[in-house]
């Protein structure tokens, strides 16, 4: 799921490992209670080590500054709508930002995000698709950032939401 959102999350989890079951079964109730109490104290004192640490590298560092923005126009009968912004964070990393009002059709599965030189999805696999750049995939509605691996040339004026499998546009936005 993280992959589909375009995130490159790093998840670090530490798990305590123990084999007390056989040992506990052989002890009296009092002994068992004492052991369980001790175990509870130990695990409580180690609770910080058991926390999940997630580093979301897809979030902008510091303030995100939009350079171009636009509103999505729905296509193919989908409910697609919302604002889209192209900009940079304080580390000069490029991001595509969908506003909290963003919505599209998700029941069909993965929705791909393309930067395009026009509102029309113009594929040309034989020449390396010079008019399209796949920049991410949508898997949820609402506000989200998508980190771009490189800056977007100025002639890529549109964002297109596209279902690759069916070859159907869900919506597009011109970024001004």
């Amino acid at each position: 799921m993280l992959m589909l959102q375009g995130n490159c999350g790093i998840t670090i989890q530490l798990h305590l490992f123990f084999k007390l079951k056989t040992f506990i079964m052989k002890r009296s109730i009092i002994q068992t209670s004492l052991i369980l109490l001790a175990f509870a104290l130990i695990t409580t004192s180690c609770s910080k080590d058991d926390e999940t640490l997630t580093i979301d590298s897809a979030s902008p560092s510091g303030t995100f500054t939009p350079e171009r923005s636009g509103s999505l126009t729905a296509e193919s009968g989908t409910p697609t709508a919302g604002t889209v912004e192209l900009g940079k964070d304080e580390d000069n990393v490029n991001f595509l930002h969908f506003g909290s009002n963003f919505i599209t059709e998700l029941a069909t599965g993965t929705v791909s995000i393309y930067m395009s030189t026009s509102a029309v999805f113009t594929a040309s696999p034989g020449t390396g698709n010079p008019d399209l750049k796949l920049v991410g995939n949508i898997s949820k509605n609402g506000e989200q950032y998508h980190k771009l691996s490189e800056s977007v040339p100025s002639n890529f004026t549109h964002v297109i939401l596209w279902c690759n499998t069916a070859g159907v546009p869900f919506g597009n936005a011109r970024l001004n």
Partner: protein, 288 residues
């Protein structure tokens, strides 16, 4: 008088057996009479009509194959139980893995309102067999190295009720027959209700072969609030005109081979939110 009555009764029974099943018609089965059919179907196309009837042809080819079971049983002279179950459905695009499952099960009761005309009312409940979500991966990752997913549910995940009224007429010889019907599909889960109407005309040739031409329209009746507008497998907002032909060949007094072809057109009602292509099916039927 009794002779006339017997003749009429005999003719009615003959007509009952002459009328091929799995169509919408006004006939009901005789008490303890039954019809059972198992068939294989295949559908393949790359033509998708969106919710606003725009045709897209650039995507992968969608394919659907199925093992379909259909049955009718005469509970009484007026009541017929109907079962329609897509036992096994295989959905896939040529670029994706295959979704496998059972389709929504349709269970119904048909009541012969007027036997002489004949006119029948049928109520079917369509029971979902899953929650309407069957995600499959693409075979190859995209340029970002991600295998995309697409939802290819074998059942739409919603409970709905079909109510159908059908009227039929046959020639005195029983070799030519026709039916008109109208049906409402009351859907749940915020999906739009649907209306269907159709015409079927059949002819018995060489006392062995039935040929039945079919024409059907489907229209959306009430706008639902579902956001699943683009999910063609949910049928939300799906409208069409379909036509087809069914051939039934009598192997003996009980067994039949059934072959059918159907396709869509936009002649009467436009195609919306639908993959447009031909369906072929071949099956075996047992009737008593």
């Amino acid at each position: 008088m009794m002779t006339l009555l017997y003749k009429a009764l005999f003719m009615a029974i003959c007509l009952l057996y002459l009328i091929p099943a799995q169509g919408q018609n006004g006939w009901t089965r005789a008490t303890k009479g039954f019809y059972a059919q198992a068939s294989l179907s295949h559908f393949s196309t790359g033509n998708y009509y969106s919710s606003n009837s725009t045709l897209f042809v650039g995507g992968s080819t969608f394919q659907s194959s199925g093992l379909l079971l259909y049955g009718e049983y005469g509970i009484s002279n007026r009541f017929t139980a109907v079962v329609d179950i897509p036992l096994l459905l295989l959905h896939r695009f040529t670029t994706t893995e295959t979704a496998v499952g059972t389709g929504s099960a349709k269970l119904g009761i048909k009541y012969g309102l007027i036997k002489k005309i004949p006119l029948a009312l049928q109520v079917d409940v369509e029971i979902p067999t899953n929650d309407g979500v069957t995600l499959v991966n693409t075979k190859e990752p995209n340029s970002l190295g991600i295998k995309e997913q697409i939802n290819l549910p074998t059942s739409d995940g919603e409970f709905n009720v079909w109510t159908t009224a059908a009227i039929s007429k046959s020639s005195s010889s029983g070799k030519t027959f026709g039916s008109l019907y109208g049906a409402m599909n009351f859907r749940t889960e915020s999906f739009s209700n649907q209306f269907q109407a159709g015409l079927e005309i059949g002819q018995l040739l060489f006392d062995k072969l039935y040929l039945i031409g079919k024409l059907k329209i489907q229209e959306k009746v009430v706008d639902g609030s579902s956001s699943a507008s683009a999910s063609f497998l949910y049928g939300e907002g799906t409208t069409f005109t379909s036509y087809g032909i069914t051939a039934m060949y009598k192997l003996d007094s009980k067994w039949k081979i059934v072959a059918a072809f159907s396709d869509y057109t936009g002649v009467i009602i436009q195609r919306r939110n639908i993959y447009d292509g031909p369906t072929f099916s071949l099956g075996l039927a047992l009737e008593r």
